[in-house]
């Protein structure tokens, strides 16, 4: 499946499944060790805060809440911890990406994501 390519970056559509549901567009960020969702969105779908973490970036550090909820990417629903971000950007980090095979062809501006497990299952049918 091809991911959306805009502003020289890849984006995936992600479903947040809490007490309520919401769909968001999230930046694929292989540098992030954990996915991040705006705090406002986490609250809106009813994700619960479970802890706090000091997050270090190259341009500073800050304390941010960690929410627990279910996130669906490529039809795979994962219960996971996500960091609550202060801005309105969402990112998909390695915690979710590690379930998939990601192929990057920046020259052709094409990013493919697939679930190797699902492909194996389909081949064996």
């Amino acid at each position: 499946m091809s991911l959306k390519y805009k502003n020289d970056a890849a984006y995936a559509t992600v479903s947040l499944v809490g007490k309520r549901r919401a769909m968001i567009e999230a930046l694929i960020d292989t540098g992030a060790d954990i996915s991040g969702i705006p705090i406002s969105k986490c609250v809106e779908v009813g994700f619960e805060v479970e802890g706090f973490r000091l997050f270090r970036g190259l341009f500073g550090a800050g304390f941010l809440p960690v929410f627990r909820g279910r996130v669906e990417l490529m039809g795979i629903l994962t219960e996971t911890a996500v960091v609550g971000l202060l801005n309105e950007e969402s990112i998909v980090g390695r915690d979710l990406l590690s379930n998939f095979k990601l192929s990057l062809d920046w020259k052709e501006k094409k990013v493919e994501i697939e679930d190797p497990q699902r492909n194996e299952d389909e081949e064996s049918i």
């Binding site: 992030a32 060790d33 802890g51 706090f52 997050f55 500073g60 809440p65 609550g84 202060l86």
Partner: protein, 142 residues
């Protein structure tokens, strides 16, 4: 320069003098440098707890977290700060979660959190990675 006089336990003084001599030798001004370093470290840890308290209060006002949650996170942060030196030496490059007064380390945040949740199901935690960047591309408000 200010002048501070304090009384400390004999054992602590003995350990301090031995460690100073071993590390810096017997030169003038070592005690002043070591005390300044220790006080600066302590002030930084207090500052960090104060900053966290401020963020928690903001989220409490918005109804995102409640008072008990905030109190427990601050308690874990203080425990983390008390053990910071040991944690930084032992878990360099790993993610550490402080929960229920204990520490859980992992290669990833997920690993460390899962270990904490296995022992203390829903207890709020405080976490930091030790000397590594978590979100290189994201500007995090300091």
């Amino acid at each position: 320069m200010g002048r501070i006089q304090a009384t400390i336990p004999d054992e602590l003084e003995e350990a301090l003098r031995k460690a100073m001599a071993k590390r810096y030798g017997w030169r003038k001004g070592v005690l002043r440098d070591v005390v300044t370093l220790a006080l600066n470290d302590w002030l930084s840890s207090v500052e960090a707890v104060n900053t966290l308290e401020k963020v928690l209060t903001e989220l409490e006002d918005k109804g995102v977290v409640d008072k008990n949650f905030a109190k427990e996170v601050l308690r874990q942060k203080e425990i983390f700060e008390r053990e910071r030196e040991t944690l930084e030496a032992k878990y360099k490059g790993l993610v550490v979660v402080a929960c229920g007064g204990e520490f859980f380390a992992g290669e990833t945040f997920k690993e460390a959190v899962e270990a904490a949740r296995k022992k203390f199901k829903d207890l709020p935690y405080y976490s930091e990675s030790i000397k590594r960047i978590d979100h290189p591309s994201v500007r995090v408000r300091g």
